[in-house]
Symmetry: C2
Subunit: 445 residues, 2 copies
């Protein structure tokens, strides 16, 4: 592939790809990506950042739904709001090789088109696969330099995926799709300095909104560079001093990067996950109740205490940065969802008692995705578990029933039991639905 033709090659791919060329396992993974995204978008819908966006951005019309809610807004603002809510718990999907959360920008951008168009489930799923592919391919091309220098890669590459998927559904021509990529390149933004503020989720919403806008403007004839990605003063060169654009096109249409997507079982940073995983397994295997536990000893990778060494968290958010709290809720509740990292959970006296029984020791021989857990019971038993490949990794992916349960935890309090079950079924069968907008109706009030 000539590197001077990257934008053109990606545009041609987006326009000409055929659903019948997508293997079944890729379709299946896309169903899982869709379900996980809808679940987190519904789960985060009442967060203050979403409220502020709806309050600040006036609606041009009421054609587009906000997941988990009753009110509607216009397509661009819905893309923004849904993108924000789906990332606000940091519980969305992850392309581990690049640290990209690819579904948010793509699905937030196309849901308003799905809702207002006459789009069948196969087209929705295909657009998702293509959008995620573009996002992760560009991410690989500029990694790790781009993220290291400070770009929030989920936003900066997500806008291309959003523009690609929206261009596909809007039936843009190849030239219009090149322009859409140019418009995406020249709006690509979002910096890691914003982590810890509402702006982190804003990046996902903005990528969705501006990617959708790029496709809409291009469709109406708004011109841009046709080499926005690869030109000397285009996206890759300007935002990354080290990159390999051949990674953006190698195996295009043969290897689908959505296959490398992963889903978090726990609503916190990944370094804590092996601890929760091990505690949940020990609790279940030995039918442990909290008051049987005398002491918990962990041997952990140095990163664990560096990032999550908070002994006495005061808020739910702080709880996400406490390996002690994480193991306590795992032993108490057998899980680590968003509820287990709420302010209430952090201030539960039983959790606090358990938390103080957890001790962690650094062991440089232990990988970041691993952990050794040892529990001493009051009656003198000694229970151990070594986690080598944490659940949610590519080697040990989150199973279908665990993903369904994650969805239930996030959605039932908002949508109710019946709608949540319909939602799970709708996402898992999306490719075979004539009317893809059923997912929107099922995931809103």
């Amino acid at each position: 592939m000539n590197n001077e033709l990257i934008t053109a090659a990606l545009a041609e791919y987006i326009i000409e790809a055929r659903l019948e060329d997508i293997p079944d396992d890729v379709i299946n993974e896309a169903h899982r990506t869709l379900l996980n995204w809808v679940a987190v978008a519904v789960g985060g819908c009442k967060h203050q950042s979403v409220e502020i966006i709806l309050q600040t951005m006036p609606a041009a019309n009421r054609n587009a739904s906000i997941f988990g809610r009753a009110e509607k807004t216009d397509a661009l603002n819905a893309a923004l709001a849904n993108g924000v809510s789906s990332h606000v718990f940091d519980f969305d999907d992850t392309h581990l090789a690049t640290a990209i959360h690819p579904a948010g920008p793509v699905l937030s951008a196309i849901m308003p088109l799905v809702e207002n168009g006459n789009i069948d489930g196969g087209e929705l799923i295909h657009s998702l696969i293509l959008g995620v592919d573009i996002t992760c391919r560009l991410g690989l091309a500029v990694s790790p330099d781009h993220y290291d220098v400070g770009w929030h890669i989920s936003g900066t590459t997500g806008i291309f995926g959003a523009a690609a998927a929206a261009s596909r559904l809007l039936q843009n021509s190849e030239k219009q799709t090149r322009w859409a990529f140019g418009l995406a390149a020249t709006q690509s933004s979002g910096m890691r300095e914003m982590f810890g503020s509402m702006c982190k989720s804003f990046h996902i919403g903005n990528a969705a909104k501006n990617g959708l806008m790029s496709a809409m403007l291009a469709k109406n004839g708004f011109t841009s560079s046709e080499q926005g990605i690869e030109a000397k003063r285009g996206w890759a060169n300007v935002t990354s001093s080290n990159h390999d654009l051949s990674l953006a096109t190698n195996g295009l249409g043969k290897k689908f990067l959505i296959m490398d997507n992963s889903y978090k079982p726990y609503a916190c940073g990944v370094v804590v996950h092996p601890g929760i995983d091990g505690c949940v397994q020990l609790k279940n295997e030995h039918d442990l109740s909290p008051n049987e536990i005398e002491r918990v000893d962990l041997r952990v990778n140095p990163l664990v205490l560096e990032l999550t060494g908070k002994k006495r968290p005061m808020t739910g958010l702080e709880g996400k940065f406490s390996i002690y709290h994480a193991c306590a809720v795992a032993l108490q509740h057998g899980k680590g969802g968003e509820k287990e990292f709420s302010d209430t959970a952090v201030n539960d006296p039983l959790t606090q008692t358990l938390r103080d029984k957890v001790h962690a020791e650094v062991d440089v021989s232990i990988a970041a995705s691993a952990m050794a857990i040892h529990i001493t019971t009051k009656d003198g038993r000694s229970l151990s578990k070594e986690i080598k490949q944490v659940v949610g990794s590519l080697e040990n992916p989150l199973g279908d029933s665990a993903l369904d349960n994650k969805t239930r935890d996030l959605c039932q309090p908002i949508l109710g039991k019946e709608k949540t079950e319909t939602l799970i079924e709708t996402c898992r069968n999306m490719t075979f639905l004539r009317d893809s907008s059923k997912v929107v109706r099922t995931a809103t009030l």
Copy 2:
């Protein structure tokens, strides 16, 4: 100034600055910046890029005017549309040290607030001065590396100026203004690769719209980093490998960078300007008519033929890149406004005859801002002019009456004679008006 406090220092400055501390010459320059910007925004209002934006972006309400037009849209879309129209002729103001066009993002962002608020003329002018100051200070801090690597600096810094001016008019707190700067940092975008497409003007409109949105979101409590500009993974470090942030705060509140703003007398690239300047002067001094001219000889800086050596332009846009066409219209019409670079002008037979009489020779001893013009008349006269400091430079600024005439050329065909004269008077006296929205009413249909 501690470089860790740049964002805070700029926010404090924006909130606490007092109009009575602004010297008269700064106020006067702000009046000129306002007039020049309104003139180009009106002049560009029918460009196709503006039409596409209005067609693509649905309006949430009709509270905000589009300069030069009758229809209204919402505040954010008006900021976008006015920003685009004001840059589309490349005829707006320039901060020469950074190549920033500072008025577009700032004034496009605040005009919807002026129109809907109860803002007096002094506050409008003060916000303009502050917004331009922030824009150009940040531009100086990251120049030349930031522009060299490929960022379109007018967009990337303009969003900060827009956020600053809008924060001031929205009466944001200091903390909210820091958040607005963080939101601006994380949306800062626009690449030079887009030059030659509609995206170039889009950058100006986007900076205005997103800067205004940043101030609005921050006012409603949307959090961001409070060190968005100077943090390790914040704006300056991420977008520029070489920068000196002390330039952003040195002399803050004492030196006002709007004093270094300049206004183009001619609607084309600056390297052509000395040729037009000299031809206009010779025409006027000798009362030359086109048919008296036998031959025109230019001695020019090498850049002139490199950038504008097109012998036979076919379109108005190509005419902007032809020193031959530029000198021909200067000798024929005594000016070089947007009309002289239209398709019609380029295809005028008399202009084409004159154009073919113009000859240019490179002389490396001649500066880019200079040119030597020699005219031989049919009756054997030999007329010469050496331009050392072209009109529109800081050393030889565009005079008030020339700026008024530029405004008339751009606005009369759209607003009519009477409104145009009122507009000139309104801008020149803005600081003393109780109701600043008069400028909006006068510059619209």
